[in-house]
Each structure stands twice: as C-alpha cells, then as structure tokens.
C-alpha cells in the first residue's frame, strides 16, 4: 500500500481524527519535517510545551507518535502523512535520527493499520477541512454566560481562599504535634489535606502537597526535619501571598492551575523572548496522582536577564514511556513565551527554527552561585526548584562519598548523586543544575572532556 489521500482516509480511525488532523496542517506547527527513503518524520507543536515526535513509513503506512492519544493512527500521524501527500518536497532529506531508528528496530513490519471500519461513516479529507463557523449573535445569551462565569469565579475564589486558610491551620497542626510524627505519617496526612484542597478548587496546591512526601523521602534521614521546615515554610509563604494577591497570574498558577497554551499565547502580559537556546536536559517524574511530569530545561545562550526556561508537560502514566522531544545539547533559535511571574521560568515555544550547530559559549556567571540562588529565593520564595549556572570548578567527594561542587574560589555546593564516574575526574568549565534547597541536581556541564550530560530523572 502506498501513501495516497485514499489510503489516509481508509486507515484513519474516524472522521473526527481527520478533522483533528486538519487543524495541524499549518507548516508553522511543524518546525521539523524530514525524510529518508520511505520514512518520513517530524515534530509537531501540539498543546503541550514539548513538541510531539511523529514518524511514518510511507510504504506500509505504519506510524508512531509520542502524544498520549489512544487513537491509532493519531491526528499527528495523519497530519504528517497528509502534509507529505500534499507536498513531499517540504520534507528535507536527512539522516535518520536515533528515535526513528529505535522505532524501526522495534516495530513489526506489516503492523500498519488496515482500513479502519467506521460503521456507516464516510471518512473524507475534504470534509475534514475546517469550515468557517457561523458566529451566533445572541447578546442576552452571552450576557448570561458571562454572569454565570463571573459567579463561578467568585465562588471558586472564596473556596480557594478557604482552602489556603485550611492549609495554614494544617501546617500549624503538624508543627504543634511534632515534626517526627509528621514525617512518619507524611504520606497519609498530605494525601488527606490534598484531597481537601482539590475540593476547594486549589488543584496546583493540592498536587504540590501530595508530592511533598516524595521530596522529603528523597532526602537523607538526618535532613528531613529541616526539609520539612523548608517545605511547610514555602507553603505558608505561598498561601499568604495568594490571599494578598489572588489575581496574580503566577500565584493563581501555583495554587489553582495553569493557563492553557492558547491562553498564554494570547496573553499580552506574557513575556516573549526570541533567542538561541540550548537543551540542558530533561527530568521525568512519576507523580502519586498517576500523572507523569516531563520537564525540559533550556538555557538562553545570549547574555541577558532571562537565563533559563523550562517546558513542562503532563501526561497519564498509563500512556506509557514517552521519548523526549529534544536531544540534550541540541541548540535552536526559538521564540519562547513565558508564563507571567516575578522571575519567569516556565514557558512554551511559540516558534522554533531548525536545530543548528551554533558554537556560542555558555554565558558567564558570577563566582558565587549562592548569590544567584538568594536572588531567586527572594523573588519567588515558594519556588521548590531553582536553576543555577555554576562557574569553573571541580566535583569533589567527601570521605563519606558525598559529592560537592567546589569553585576555584572555594565556594561549595552539595551535589545530588549518583554521578557518572567521569564527573570526579573532569575539569568543570561551567555547569548547570537544579537546586532544591538541599542539593544541586546537575543537568549538564562543559568540561575538558566536552559536554557532559547528567541523568537528572527521578
């Protein structure tokens, strides 16, 4: 079977998939489209922060996508093939990347979908093309909708406020009954208060509290009391700040929930920055609520106040393991849109050009990383993780085996382990890590052995 419009129509699961694919036909959504022989692949900027990787075999119409959709083929795969049929020349001849090779190695030939049967439904690419929607003009209905939305917002605001006060009381209870008891029962206690926060519409805050036991257990036993004080302290700061400014977008994000990608892109307050970015690394975390968070850290290679960005996505753990959209060390020009915050960090990619071989050095940084961390802590004191760029130094180990980064001037930062063996034997020309208040989880370093990446997944 070769790739034709008819073939695409035949193997699409239903008309809805074709319609959804039609919304992805804009070239701007595909910063990467390439081909080699009968293979095509691309990256599609969907609703998430990280693009989806899509590959297809034009000879037997097998396909693969990293999105969590259960439809097969998904709208991204259909869109990729549709774009290819419409204009194959837009797909650049290229070497087959490793992630496409992995898929080819694992797939079964002949496993491509046969014509999908949709009872009584005609599937058509032509019908899938988006039509201009008629906008019904009904001012009264619109007014009613707005009033209802306003009431809902007020009710939600009251519920969230009550939830934060509830949390403050809970924090005080944990302290009054003793932190050792809290640590011993952290899982159960945090789960209960998180459930109350969910009921109070404070979803983000609930997730943060629900994940607190994991963060505390990741510390050494002798560090957990101080870790609990830090965690509870940040929560108290956050709830107090939110009640003082409930409409602040960053605080709402931390307590209630994030804006959608579309809302963010449409927000005139959202800072935008076009620059050259380097992918530092990826951290994947499986949460207690069944979601997996995928954080891709980027560094701005152009000197300026906005040094870092993190692309954050969530998907169900049941969707299986997803490969990252980027390769650590990859560099590309892109315009990022940041979620508004006192110290913006989380962002989405608005526009991205193809990866390039730019050899720009890493930005320079102050000799004392604690000064940078102190500034971040003052700007956003409830933030759990803070990225920091370290200057030249060495990774050293205590007699106990505990690892430290040490600057040429003697500044010391404890480093999370395990570390690759080479880390102790390399001259660090610069390093980037995520500081969690106790330890630094390294993401990448420039060394006398070239660029080193660190597996920062948890």
């Amino acid at each position: 079977m070769s790739l034709t419009r008819s073939a695409i129509e035949a193997m699409a699961p239903d008309q809805a998939a074709l319609t959804a694919a039609a919304s992805l036909l804009k070239p701007a959504k595909w910063p990467v489209r390439a081909r080699a022989g009968g293979l095509i692949w691309g990256e599609c900027q969907g609703s998430g922060a990280n693009p989806y990787r899509v590959a297809a075999d034009t000879e037997d119409i097998g396909s693969k996508c990293t999105c969590p959709s259960r439809k097969f083929p998904c709208k991204h795969a259909i869109a990729l093939m549709w774009l290819f049929v419409e204009d194959g020349t837009a797909f650049q001849p290229s070497d087959i990347p490793a992630w496409v090779g992995d898929w080819i190695g694992r797939r079964r030939k002949g496993a491509a979908p046969q014509a999908a049967v949709s009872a009584g439904e005609a599937k058509s690419l032509s019908l899938a093309q988006p039509a201009v929607a008629d906008k019904a003009a009904d001012p009264k209905a619109e007014a009613r909708r707005q009033a209802a939305a306003q009431k809902r917002a007020q009710d939600t605001g009251r519920a969230v406020r009550a939830g934060t006060e509830d949390l403050d009381g809970w924090i005080a209870d944990q302290l009054r009954t003793g932190l050792p008891g809290f640590l011993a029962a952290a899982g159960e206690r945090c789960r209960r208060i998180a459930a109350r926060l969910v009921d109070a519409k404070a979803g983000s805050l609930a997730s943060r509290v629900d994940e607190m036991p994991s963060r505390l257990l990741a510390l050494r036993p002798e560090e957990r009391i101080d870790g609990a004080i830090a965690e509870l302290g940040k929560l108290a700061l956050l709830t107090r700040a939110f009640r003082a400014a409930p409409d602040d977008p960053d605080l709402r994000r931390e307590v209630v929930g994030s804006e959608t990608r579309e809302e963010l892109l449409a927000d005139p307050r959202a800072p935008r920055l076009a620059s050259l970015w380097e992918v530092l690394g990826e951290r994947v975390l499986t949460r207690r609520d069944g979601l997996v968070s995928q954080a891709t850290w980027l560094m701005n290679l152009t000197p300026g106040p906005q040094r870092f960005a993190v692309l954050l996505d969530f998907f169900p753990a049941s969707a299986g393991r997803r490969s990252g959209a980027f390769v650590a060390g990859e560099r590309f020009p892109a315009e990022l849109v940041f979620y508004p915050a006192p110290a913006p960090l989380r962002a989405v990619i608005a526009r991205r050009d193809a990866s390039c071989e730019a050899r720009d050095p890493w930005p320079e940084t102050a000799a004392d990383p604690y000064a940078d961390l102190g500034e971040q802590a003052l700007a956003v004191p409830w933030r759990i993780e803070m990225p920091v760029l370290l200057p030249e130094g060495r990774i050293c180990a205590e007699a106990s085996g505990a690892a430290w980064w040490r600057s040429s001037d003697g500044a010391l930062v404890p480093v999370r382990q395990p570390l690759p063996a080479i880390a102790l034997g390399a001259q660090i020309e610069g390093a980037v890590g995520i500081w969690d208040g106790t330890r630094l989880a390294l993401l990448a370093a420039q060394t006398n052995w070239g660029r080193l990446g660190f597996d920062a997944g948890t």
Binding site: L175, P180, K234, A236, I395, G401, I422, G425
Partner: protein
C-alpha cells in the same frame, strides 16, 4: 547572625518535640506573626535558613586527580550516539569487551562519559591502562585501601626500570612490561625477576603471562626458581613454560601411563605422517583419568614416552574423540614448543580438522598470526563464529568479506533474513538471533567488508536505519588507521 542561628535551632527543637516555637523565635518576629504564629514562623524560619546559611561538608574535601588523556584520539562525536546505542541494546553487555577492542584496533578510544573501565578490568586494551589506574585510585580512596599507595603519576618516567617500578601503578606497569618484553625480552625478565616476589599471587601470574611472549632459554633459571612459589597457579604456569623449553621435572610414570592410553598412528601410504590416535576407552573413569593426565604431562615428555619427538607427533592432525583431541591440543598449547605448536596448527588447517579444536592454541598466537588465520577460520567456523572471535582476540575488524560469504554464519544470516522478510515476522527467538548474528559478524569484518555487507543487507530488505546494523555501521565508519 549567631543569635539568629541559635533562635532557629531552638525553634527547630520546639517543632521536633511538638509545640509552639513562638517563645523561641527572635524578638523581632513576634509582633509580625501575631495571629498566624506557627505558619508564619515556619515560613520565616525556612526562608532564613535557605538564604542566610550555607551548606558545608563534614570533612575537608580535595578534588581527585583529573582523568588522564589517552594516547589515542577519542571516538568522533558523530559516532558516540551509535556506540551508546550498541552498548545499551539487549546484547550490548555481552559484546562490550569486543566492542571496546574493535574501537581500539581502529585507533580510537571511547569517550569517558560513555564508558570507563572498572578497577579490575585487566581485559581492557592496553591503551586504557591510565584510566584503570585512575579508577583504582578512586576505588582505593573510597575504601581507604592503602595498597599500591605509592604508585603515583608516572608521567615523568618514560621507561619502566627496576629502580622506578614502585612509582608506576599496576596497570601501567603491566602494559609497560608487555611492550618491553617484545622489544627487549632480557630487560623485561630482569624487572620481573627482581619484583615478582613482592607482588601478590594474582599479579605474579600476570607477570608470568608476560614472560610467555618471546620465551627462551634465558628465562629458564627464573622459571625454575618459581618451583617453590606459594601459589599453585604460578607453579603450574612456570612448569608449563619450562616444558616448552624442553625442561621438565614431570613424573615419568604419569607420562608412561598416558602413553599407554594413546597410540601413535600413521596417515597416508606414501610419505606417511605420524599422528596421535586417541581412541575411546572402555569406561568414563578411564576417560577422566586420561584427561587429567593430559593436564599433568608435557608434550615433550609424552613424545619421549611414545618413543618419538614432539614434531613427529604433530606431522598430521590427531585422530580420536572430540574431547580427547581437545585435551591433547590443550596440552600442546600449555607445554608444546613454539615449533611444534605451529606445526600442529598448520596440519590442523591442512587436514581440515574442525576449527573449534584450534581455540586452545589462540593464546599462543601473535597478532599477525591471528590476522592471517582469521579468514580461513571464518570460512570454516560454525554459524556462531565462536572460534573466529576467540582466535581474533583483540585483532578485531580485520577480516575481508569474501570468507564470510562462504561461511556457515552467512548461510544462517541469509536464513534469518528470509524469515525477517516474512509477512508477519514477530518477536521470535529468530528475530533476536538476527541482532546477535550481525554483531558477531560486525566484530570480525574490516571496514570495507562492513560497508559492503550493509549494502547487501539493504538489498535483502533490511532497513538502513535498523538498530541491528548499528555495529556494522560503526565498524564501517571507523576508518582511521591504527597508530602503531
């Protein structure tokens, strides 16, 4: 600051015990926290701790020595993902040693963030000795092991001598001695003779293995001195080396006993050749005894007991049961003279004996001999190419494609590809066998052969992106000639 630190400690203690920290906080905090005491206090305490105080190690720390550079260039960046993928694949760990050796044969070293030898990795190519030393220093630092502690950076010393021996780390000593043995056997013998007694048994064994290269009568006195060595294995190797030199203190009764269990036969009517015949014995107990005797008796001694010489004994390939032939060849490998060994090798090949019997001879072969033999062994080996890989040793990536195309390995590969092209090829053992078969072949072929095979496999329907071709692709891409 000290007052604040003390106050924070008291607050912490209060929360440890359970209770309010209000009475323990700094005076300046009391009024602002009124009404929300505990939550506000923990906010202030947590924030103060994070921005005002720094972590310090419990004991002084110093950086370790930098990982030294190696004599070979590092694998090019564009090939490193391929290397990592091969190592991470299902069959990766089983071919790791071979993979490292192949890359070294082609004149490259692996990037240290992709692979580092372990402290005990004596099997790594010699080029990695500085990294083994570094890993050992790391391991010693963690275990407080002071042995070999005097060994330091020998970068200032160009040549190993008796005087500077202790200044070299073990891995570097071993490599230096091995190289010296080739160039100046007497100088290497002098160092080993002077220092072996001070080394632990495992290292004495490694030193003796070095003496096996260019073994000569000049080594006899030292070897005879090892007759009283406290290690059985050291004594056994010393005796084997002496046997190769025609000097033996073996028990003649054992030789007589073994001679009674074998025969000297003739092969051919005209220009008949002498050969050893090792027929099946009456029972397994006798078979077992014969195998034991082959391990105890030397080649020259057996020949004498049979009324012949070593060289005459190997005029033709031995005849007999497969296990007994293996036992005889292992005896020759252990104790046969260089000339007898090579004569045996030639007749085994000429008489078309199964190549698996040649495995025992591999350790006695030079690098050149391995490379020369390899094409014929590949052509005659079984589909698993076990003998070819063993004989190749570290001389990987040197065989042309032609002998492979005539081999059982290629026949099996073709069969696996036919199955792969089938309509519904599933994850059967055959599917997994394809990767293993391709890896073994990829380790043996030269770069041109690897590239040609990739082309052939593409014509057979295997996608050029198939990860099972990774090792062939790496082989084909490693075209830098090895720096001698």
């Amino acid at each position: 600051m000290q007052e604040l630190e003390a106050a924070l400690a008291r607050m912490r203690s209060a929360w440890m015990a359970g209770g309010s920290a209000l009475d323990h906080c700094p005076d300046a905090w009391r009024q602002p926290v009124a009404g929300h005491a505990e939550a506000a206090l923990v906010a202030l305490a947590g924030h103060a701790s994070s921005v005002l105080f720094r972590h310090t190690p419990a004991s002084p720390i110093e950086p370790r020595p930098l990982l030294p550079a190696l004599a070979l260039p590092i694998l090019p960046d564009e090939l490193r993902p391929l290397f990592r993928r091969i190592l991470a694949a299902k069959g990766g760990p089983s071919i790791e040693q071979h993979l490292i050796a192949l890359i070294a044969c082609r004149g490259f070293a692996v990037h240290p963030s992709d692979w580092l030898p372990s402290p005990q990795d004596d099997g790594a190519p010699d080029i990695y000795a500085p990294w083994i030393d570094w890993a050992r220093a790391e391991s010693r630092a963690k275990s407080d092991d002071k042995s070999d502690a005097k060994a330091g950076d020998q970068a200032d010393e160009a040549t190993l001598t008796v005087e500077n021996y202790e200044g070299w780390s073990w891995a570097s000593r071993r490599v230096a001695l091995a190289n010296l043995r080739i160039k100046d056997p007497a100088a290497a013998l002098a160092i080993i003779a002077a220092k072996a007694a001070h080394e632990p048994a495992e290292r004495r064994l490694r030193l003796l293995e070095i003496l096996e290269t260019r073994l000569s009568e000049a080594d006899a006195a030292f070897l005879e001195g090892l007759a009283q060595d406290r290690s059985d294995r050291v004594r056994a190797i010393a005796q084997a080396c002496l046997a190769r030199l025609g000097r033996t203190a073996e028990n003649s009764s054992e030789a007589t006993e073994l001679a009674a269990m074998v025969e000297v036969g003739k092969l051919g009517l005209f220009r008949s050749r002498t050969r050893l015949v090792v027929k099946a014995l009456k029972n397994s107990a006798q078979e077992l005894r014969r195998q034991q005797l082959f391990k105890l008796v030397g080649a020259a001694t057996l020949a004498r007991a049979l009324g012949t010489s070593e060289l005459r004994l190997v005029e033709a390939a031995p005849d007999g049961t497969s296990d007994s032939i293996d036992s005889f060849i292992q005896m020759m490998a252990r104790t046969g003279s260089d000339s007898a060994l090579r004569a045996l090798l030639q007749v085994m090949l000429a008489d078309a004996a199964p190549v698996r019997h040649l495995r025992a001879l591999a350790p006695r072969l030079s690098a050149n001999e391995r490379r020369t033999l390899l094409p014929e062994i590949i052509a005659r080996d079984t589909a698993e190419l076990d003998t070819a890989l063993l004989v190749a040793g570290r001389e990987l990536g040197t065989a042309p494609l032609a002998p492979l195309l005539a081999s059982a390995a290629y026949t099996e590969l073709s069969g696996l590809l036919d199955a792969f092209r089938g309509e519904d090829f599933r994850q059967t053992p055959k599917h997994n066998s394809l990767g293993g078969a391709l890896n073994r072949i990829a380790l043996l072929l030269d770069a041109t052969g690897a590239a040609d095979l990739i082309t052939r496999l593409g014509q057979c329907g295997l996608s050029p992106a198939d990860p099972r071709l990774d090792l062939l692709r790496l082989n084909a891409a490693l075209t830098r000639e090895k720096t001698p």
